[in-house]
């Protein structure tokens, strides 16, 4: 009966599915028994219960009376916030070090190599612990480093001047900015807008800029906290620093470690990209009389970027996952919020499901977007890469 290959293929696949189904069903049954024995209710009803505990850092208003659902949102926002800051900083560091490493100057070379060999070879979590220890051993607020009376650096965190607006409006402000930049780049570089007349193009650009500005300003005006100054400047009052925006040391330590460690990896990727650009292309550009700056920005950088985008995508996803180190030093990121919620509510299975789905969605969004970009900018056809 199982003589033909087709029949065998079917039999194997059905058997495989049966095993998977068996494992799923039996583990569900065991889980039900275990939960029953522990007297716990399964389901997502707990998301509406209030937590009873506060979080250390939140972009939106949060109090212990708020629900589990909200605390998870707080964690998600913190993770996205930290992820964006960390990845942006890592890019800055990475590009700088890559330029050092590919420079013809021996001293810059040596600095770049030293940097990479030191920071790439030590686990990022160790670096996070290290920076956190350094930051929390800074002077106390009353002895804080005073940067021109507008910013302070202390063990309680870095105090920066800011605006007296609610967290949610600041969030909308930033989202508007990011989306604005994204649409602007898309509009100026996408193929489908290339055929527009220059005036239509100009109008389009103005519309995008205008729209973003209106939304951003509106968000700030609506979110303004009444009866306060618009600007909030940190000042030392007694033993503590009042006003301003406090960036807690947990956040800074993570952002710094992501920038330092991620930067070391990104630098090597970017360097490989530069090396992959054929000498011929750069020489051709020079032969056309382009200045070194144009050779770099118009020929080497775009070609290198195309060559490394798939690797960069992986590295961004990896860096984004590194935000989960928050739990090690007490930053309330998505993962640590879930972890505390598990301890407090006991809803292990549901919370871990939320955690995994959350990361699957976020990371796949990153790869999806960047893969689309990659597809859009990919060199068409095959060409000699020498």
């Amino acid at each position: 009966m199982l003589k033909t290959r087709k029949a065998r293929a079917w039999a194997i696949q059905i058997g495989f599915l049966a095993i998977v189904a068996f494992l799923l069903i039996s583990s569900t049954l065991v889980a039900r028994d275990t939960l029953h024995a522990q007297g716990m209710n399964s389901g997502f009803g707990f998301l509406d219960r209030s937590t009873g505990w506060d979080v250390g850092f939140s972009l939106i208003e949060f109090s212990p009376f708020d629900t589990y659902g909200k605390v998870i949102v707080v964690g998600l926002l913190n993770t996205i916030f930290l992820g964006i800051i960390g990845i942006v900083l890592a890019n800055v560091v990475g590009l700088t070090i890559a330029v050092f490493r590919t420079s013809e100057n021996g001293a810059l070379n040596a600095i770049g190599t030293l940097y990479i060999e030191i920071f790439r070879n030590v686990p990022i979590i160790l670096q996070a612990f290290f920076w956190y220890a350094i930051l929390t051993h800074l002077p106390r607020p009353k002895d804080a480093y005073n940067l021109g009376e507008v910013a302070f650096v202390s063990a309680r965190g870095v105090y920066l001047p800011g605006l007296n607006v609610t967290g949610s409006s600041a969030l909308i402000f930033f989202i508007a900015l990011v989306l604005g930049i994204f649409f602007y780049i898309w509009f100026t570089s996408a193929r489908r807008f290339r055929s527009l007349t220059p005036s239509a193009k100009k109008n389009g650009k103005l519309t995008i800029v205008g729209l973003v500005l209106v939304i951003a300003v509106a968000a700030l005006v609506m979110g303004r906290i009444p009866e306060t100054n618009l600007f909030s400047i940190p000042t030392l009052k007694g033993l503590n620093i009042r006003e301003g925006i406090r960036i807690p040391p947990e956040m800074s330590a993570l952002a710094v470690s992501m920038a330092v460690y991620g930067g070391a990896y990104l630098a090597e990727i970017i360097r490989a990209g530069f090396l992959s650009v054929g000498k011929g292309q750069a020489e051709a550009a020079e032969a056309l009389g382009l200045s070194p700056w144009y050779v770099f920005t118009r020929v080497r950088l775009p070609l290198a970027f195309r060559a490394i985008l798939p690797t960069l995508t992986n590295q961004y996803v990896w860096l984004f996952k590194a935000t989960t180190l928050g739990i090690a030093i007490g930053f309330t990121d998505f993962f640590s919020v879930i972890s505390v919620s598990i301890n407090q509510s006991g809803q292990t299975l549901e919370l871990i499901a939320i955690l995994m789905v959350g990361f699957l969605v976020m990371n796949n969004t990153i790869s999806f977007v960047l893969n689309r970009v990659n597809k859009a900018i990919k060199l068409k056809g095959t060409q000699l890469r020498t």
């Binding site: 003589k3 033909t4 290959r5 087709k6």
Partner: protein, 246 residues
Amino acid sequence: MSEVAIQIRGMNKFYGTFHALKEINLTVQKGDRIVICGPSGSGKSTMIRCVNRLEEHQAGVIEVLGTELNDEVGNIDVIRRDVGMVFQHFNLFPHLTVLDNCTLSPMLSRKVSQAEAEKTAMMYLERVKIPEQAEKFPGELSGGQQQRVAIARALCMKPEILLFDEPTSALDPEMISEVLEVMVELAQDGMTMLCVTHEMGFARQVADRVIFMDKGEIVEEGPPEDFFNSPKEERTRTFLQQILSH
């Protein structure tokens, strides 16, 4: 000498909607030496690759050494052991020495002892005239030497049929003759051979029959004298003119 080695009846092959082979009919007796030629893309490689089922056909019948090749073949590997193949790009295993290339499959698939396998391998390496290269790796040999090793490797399985898929096309001109020489000797020893090749000299010298294929069909088939001196079909004539003009 009248045993049937390969029997192909009404065979068709498609790649998606592309009709790669159309109604192929071919009978190969044991000891037959057949040369298949035709322009590139005519389906000649595809046809011989169907004989050891590296490609699967969709309609018709292929019988190899008395076994029909279809989905019901319990173990295609058993049949492949009796049908050797020599590829255009040699496909030697670069991580194994020449000797190991030759002994691997006899030891694993035919369960021959190592001593026996090495004895056979050295015999065939001598026959293709490179016994001194036995301990080298394929990458250290020239193209012609590699192809001769590939022939020896196929022979080590003691196959009943040998398939040649453009064995000289990837070689530099000066190396072609050393490979052809080996093939001629094999033919003279009575090996059943199916050769896809453009070497018309070889075809004249050893072939019992020459088959001309174009656009997935067998256009013409006949003994070399007739084929070269009085081709019946227009397409054959054009092809022969092109290939013999230089």
